[in-house]
Amino acid sequence: MSTSHPAETDADAESDSSRESFTGQGLPRVEDHRILTGEAEYIHDITPENCLHMALVRSMHAHADIVSIDTEEAEAHPDCELVLTAEDIKSEYNPMPTGVGRIATGEDGEPAALPEWALADEKVRFVGEPVVAVVASDRYAAEDIADLVDVEYEAMDAVADGMAAREDEVVLHESVGSNVVDNERLEFGDPDAAFEDADHVVEGEYTWGRISGVPLETAGAVATYDEESDSFDIDCNIQLHTLVDNMIYETLGYEADDVRVNVPADVGGSYGTKIGIHRYCCLTSMASQQLERPVKFEEDRLENLQGGDMHSSDREYQMRMAVDDDGTMRGLDVWFVDDFGAYPRYPINQVLKPLSVLTNSYEIDDVTYEYDLVLTNKTSQTAYRGFGVDPHIYALEMIVDEAARTLDMDPTEFRRRNLIRPEQMPYTLPSKNLYDSGDYPATLDRIEEIIADERDGGLLDPDVVAAKREEGKYRGVQPSVIIEPGASGSDWTDRQRTDKEDLADRSRDEVEELPEHLRAEIREDGSIHAFLATDSSGQGHQTLVSQLLADELEVLPSDIEVGYLDSVDAPTEYGSAASRMAVMLSGATVGVAERLLANVEELAADHWDVSTDDVTYHDGTVDRLGGDGSLSLAEIAELDAETNAAGERRTRVSYNYDHPATDLEEFDEALTQKFPVYPTAAFGANAPIVEVDVNTGSVEILTFHTVRDCGTMLNPMIVEGQAHGGIAQGIGAALLEEFGYEEDGQPQAITLFDYLLPSIENVPEIEMEHTETPSPFTETGAKGVGEGGMIDAPASIATSINAALDPLSVEEPASQIPVAPDHLRKKLRESEQ
């Protein structure tokens, strides 16, 4: 176990390890130089010649009919190039595709129309919804012109609470007739029997406030329509550009090949959230087509926070747990409402992903899982790091704490008794996903040892704790073991669009899991170029691929350059999501390298007119066995160019690494039923030591202990960086962040003064240890790490707050995320009475 990573300079790292593996080393990133010198090109930096700029007129009402739009004055402004309203775009383009269709059905049983136009049509449904787009020579002028547009509204009652919206007193979409657009109840095992037989049934209600990734870089899009080819070129910092590009080309009414979406190599953070920004691509494309000039839109922070299509999960949970006197968890009953805002989008899958970690690290066979997916007058949801797993783990850990209290049992002992044991691996969950490998009890033991040290002269020393209590400061910690499901496929994400009867008859052969694509080529100067089919936003994919490819090809990472493919050149793949890339890209890199080496040996053998058995590759050279002759990679690339036409070059290869679940029988049942399949289960135990000031209700995290296992660590520096960042976001979620709304649907957090992001003052020292239990299911043994921290920190902070306040018998102090001071103060006051 180590807590540090090697951080030599690139040159040192390269030479130190000559012919030792680069994989597994904390190689500094190749992405950094351009970023550090200000040369990186983010979307905000891309402005083609002759480019115009767009600004949006956005709704200030949460729910209102649009009575009229007067654009005359705007159009008369000398700098005005174009004004677009819903009427203009409806005559030429399509609505943006929506995400559900199973419950939201009309009378004939067909999916009800729930059209979402890129500009509000006839009525507005959330504050910040774009109503009019204006285009001018620059953004300053565009905003002047936007101010001249006069929209007359007739305000209506709004609903901004997920539970209340279920009553359908205010209905957002008349065509659907109800705000509940999806509902599903799933039963695994025999929960009725479990709840009947158990000694106790424990209940709790938990709220997960609306939070999100809030990347420092806002969304942006630059579209250029080319009349000659009748096609579009779009630069945008959208995430998963090869998967969600249909939201753009379908809206424009074009074929996929006519709409080229290109993501800049540098994206200023996404954390999942930028998969939902297609509206901007659509609007700039439409404007560009009308004007035959490039059009750019750069979202500002106020737009981003209120109407930027970037909020995430917003849930009310009702949890029940059946337990026996001896501390056995017998049954679990999960019920929740997720408030999706005004339109259901692709992230409806967030309500299903928790099935992949349904019982977290515990063995519970009998489970019910039910949700209502509800629309309200809030901005629409998108994905966010964790994709809906974070609230589930939080609510589950809360009911576990409550059960321990009911049983009067030490919460750690209660957890330990129910942990899945290493001899049960791979372990099949009731919901049919598998945990690949790991020793959960040992991980809990290790974190307990760490806390024991803190109790002995450290932050939790009994004398210190007692003295602090005198000051009204309560310290505590409550560890738990938490799973991060990694490397999603995609087939299951259609579950909510699939008819239930069709699902019942589905066969294994109908399942399609998405591979990951990688290309590589050797250039005539001997350099190697690889191309990713995915976008990235700070995860170091270029470094990862160059490091692994260097090992496979026995060259230096600096001999390798890694670039990106746009949505037309890249096959439609799944890309950067769901803690997927380390697993998928490392698998693809191994595959691409094998293919390349085989071809290189063949080319050399052909050249010498010998069999491939008579040549051997090492360190960037092919030798002819017997000693006479060797060819460098540069020479081989030249030979290839001489003998093969461009389209048939053998020094250019591509490879698709199949999703690890594709051929594993163990996953057949989950795949057939379209349950979420995540073949890797990174895991870890957290022990954040918290201090609650009972006078103010504020919570400080004194230190954050964590023991983590993500299988083979390909680049420990990046692994730790991902965990640090995830934990920081988890701390923000647990204590600070929330998109609050007034009852009438007015957003309360529209600046970064209201939506509080954790600063260096809120994030404590993170004490991290690693274990490495390789995954038996993946090529390199790696497991996903992209979402960890955000998935597990909120639950762990909440359990630690419960522990800290245990002596005061406050009822469920952390029953609401974020555990904001006002909320906690109220709870503390109530407990005093």
């Binding site: 950094d32 990347p215 420092l216």
Partner: protein
């Protein structure tokens, strides 16, 4: 809002200013409402100046004005008339293409992920270390509390600052 050009048809008032940017004087006709951040990004083509919030919270736009860290989104270009501005582009040794010790330290300690906040952090660190070449963790916390990084969780940023401090002392 930010802008790339001001070449519209409308009559808009402008003023002439001269700002010393990374050692070079730049003279331009600008609208009084042009933000300093936009002036640097678009008139001076210094894209290392990043705009994350335009209301003074995130610190991505931090540059040095007359030797002090300042959030360039919070002032107008006309207010910088006559001032000396240093941006992240002014740090690396151009001839040798070698990074400034602060940049080097951020690279070595993986103190950046998406990098959108990084120029702001580097410039804030520069001021911090100029005033206090050997800061404690508390002093680093205080010195960088005006900048937000959404990716790194700050731990590696502490390490970067400490490493840079060591390197600059030698």
């Amino acid at each position: 809002m930010s802008t790339d050009s001001t070449d519209g048809a409308a009559e808009r008032p402008t003023e002439e200013i001269t700002v010393i940017v990374n050692g070079e004087p730049v003279t331009a006709e600008v609208e009084p409402r042009l933000k300093l951040s936009d002036f640097l990004r678009y008139e001076c083509d210094l894209h290392g100046v990043r705009v994350g919030c335009e209301h003074g919270v995130c610190g991505a736009c931090t540059v040095q004005q007359d030797g002090r860290s300042t959030k360039s989104c919070l002032s107008y270009a006309v207010q910088a008339d006559g001032a000396e501005i240093e941006t992240v582009e002014g740090l690396a040794e151009e001839e040798t293409d070698s990074l400034h010790p602060i940049q080097e330290a951020f690279h070595e300690t993986h103190a950046l992920q998406c990098g959108f906040c990084t120029s702001g952090f580097v410039m804030a660190t520069k001021e911090l270390l100029e005033e206090n070449p050997d800061p404690t963790r508390e002093e680093i916390e205080e010195g960088l509390a005006d900048n937000i990084c959404r990716c790194t969780g700050y731990q590696n940023i502490y390490e970067a600052v400490e490493r840079a401090a060591d390197a600059m002392e030698d």
